[in-house]
Symmetry: C2
């Protein structure tokens, strides 16, 4: 059995559950908005499915209920937020106005967040910069799951990067959002639960050898997309999101799932660039020609198109949610 919810329902449901687990109303609002956006784009693993995990992490202390983000601006274009082991989203919100103001004033600016947590769908943060008329290049990291080329112990996480480009009308012209791994870790977890094998090229076992056994993969490491070059991109993300922010490294962060290990203490690094500072009005025209060169080819699609298709569909039709999940979120409220 299932129900169809509006996106407003989704946001309200998430907010209520987070507050009940101890979050401040303000922090819960930041996170609930991200739950809404994930469901809107059909990214269900970071939608309502994640709300019970957020609640568990508030209740076990992995996310501090009393965190107050502390914003400093050590240089005119360097905005730093200590998330205080609370949620990432309110810490990002706390630094947002300073980041966008500084990037317009200086041409380019960056926001670094430490003592933070999983920031959900990275592309949504980049897209929000595009909505503010800026190019957003966003990095975040995660507990280590990818080994260096030739090695066998994970040193970086699936470390995504996201890039969004403004359309000049309050939206994004393009949103790129991709992790460093060949496949999402959630797919390997799913195959493990179902007792199914995984595809070649997805993972290595604990000895650094290729494996198609999902359990052996979970004991080993994920393969980066593009081999050594994919590892290089994930390492770049690690350097910005972890080393530069002063966060825990991916090898030092506690898991993003389960109640153990205390706060993960991960980080985010968001770069915002005002295109008018560099190219005047020419940037939009160049982007039009670049995007046309892709879209005019039969069979070629811009990155991020599936999310946009989902968005149009789900904004009209709503979100279908299993009664089981609703019961898990609403608990005694239900």
């Amino acid at each position: 059995m299932s129900k169809t919810l509006t996106l407003d329902d989704v946001e309200t449901l998430a907010h209520r559950r987070l507050v009940r687990a101890g979050a401040s109303s303000e922090a819960a609002s930041s996170v609930a908005r991200s739950t809404r956006r994930a469901e809107r784009d059909g990214l269900r693993s970071h939608g309502l499915l994640y709300v019970p995990i957020y609640a568990e992490h508030l209740e076990c202390g992995k996310v501090a209920t009393d965190a107050v983000p502390a914003v400093t601006t050590p240089r005119p274009a360097a905005i730093c937020v200590d998330a205080g082991n609370g949620f990432a989203h309110p810490a990002i919100d706390a630094g947002w106005a300073a980041l966008t103001d500084a990037s317009r004033t200086c041409g380019v600016a960056a926001l670094s967040i430490k003592n933070s947590y999983n920031c959900g769908i990275l592309g949504h943060h980049a897209e929000r910069l595009a909505e503010d008329g800026l190019i957003g290049l966003c990095f975040t990291h995660a507990p280590a799951s990818i080994a260096p080329t030739g090695g066998k112990r994970p040193v970086i996480g699936t470390n995504p990067l996201a890039l969004a480009v403004p359309d000049g009308e309050g939206g994004a012209r393009l949103v790129l959002d991709q992790s460093a791994s060949a496949i999402a870790k959630s797919e390997i977890l799913l195959r493990s639960r179902e007792g199914r094998s995984i595809e070649p090229g997805w993972a290595l076992d604990a000895d650094g050898k290729p494996t198609t056994d999902a359990d052996a993969a979970l004991e080993g490491s994920m393969v980066p997309a593009g081999g050594q070059k994919g590892f290089g991109v994930g390492l770049m993300v690690e350097i910005f999101a972890a080393a530069l922010t002063g966060a825990n490294l991916s090898t030092e962060a506690s898991p993003f799932s389960g109640p153990k290990g205390g706060p993960p203490g991960t980080g985010q690094f968001f770069l915002a660039v005002d295109p008018s500072a560099f190219a005047g009005d020419g940037f939009a025209a160049s982007m039009d020609r670049l995007i046309a060169s892709i879209e005019e080819q039969e069979g070629a699609r811009l990155p991020g198109q599936r999310r946009m298709d989902n968005r149009r569909r789900i904004e009209a039709a709503g979100v279908i949610v299993d009664d089981d999940l609703l019961a898990r979120i609403e608990g005694e409220d239900a």
Copy 2:
């Protein structure tokens, strides 16, 4: 037959040839330094081998002999250089002090270059930022050779990115330098000249189908490393290095080889970040732990290690250069 040259000899030889082809002494100095660095690191395709191409491009007008880079600073952290269809290297030099000063003052700053040319080994520019105590993230693009996923016509070049991290002692702790393609285009050109087939996964033919025929590959497109995600990284580079700088797009740039098509008009975008603005002294300690987590694994190597090994060897032993190449460079001077 061959001769062994010192790195000083290499630089002098390149400088003399470039001036003879019409470059100003100052522009020739910038380019000759890059030739020296390429040979020092064993990157021969961008060392003396490239000098006859530079000379040809000066002589045919693909590189303007009278270019004077024009530097503007539209915002405190946005430095823009119009290379005037001259070499990239003097244009980069012209904006360098403004970039490094602004990144220290503002915490982060960026240099954009348009109406430019092949900037040689991208990692050397990133490394130079690291030598100045800054994190350097550098993007440049190239005539289109990679098709979008699902398409068949190239829209982006091999579009490399380079990242260098300072060691706090006037050098780099780490230099990452990688193109978006699965294999260097020069390797496909070499196989074509030798009549050999190429490996599966390197290229597509003009219909967008996988091919192992080197000539069909040159009529078609290069495969990105990491499929759709590799294309995404190359597209990110295109957006910064071409669309944002106001350069020609990769689809619009003339080839980096041969005398035809006029100036390529490509671009570069270099981001410089002062780590002390974000992490104080903590960045170096985090980098130490991150690098140790890779180096302590048997079989794992940091990106860029082969160049460093070459550098130690070649600085001591010099550069072995074929007499044929020397004659091509020295021409009537020889």
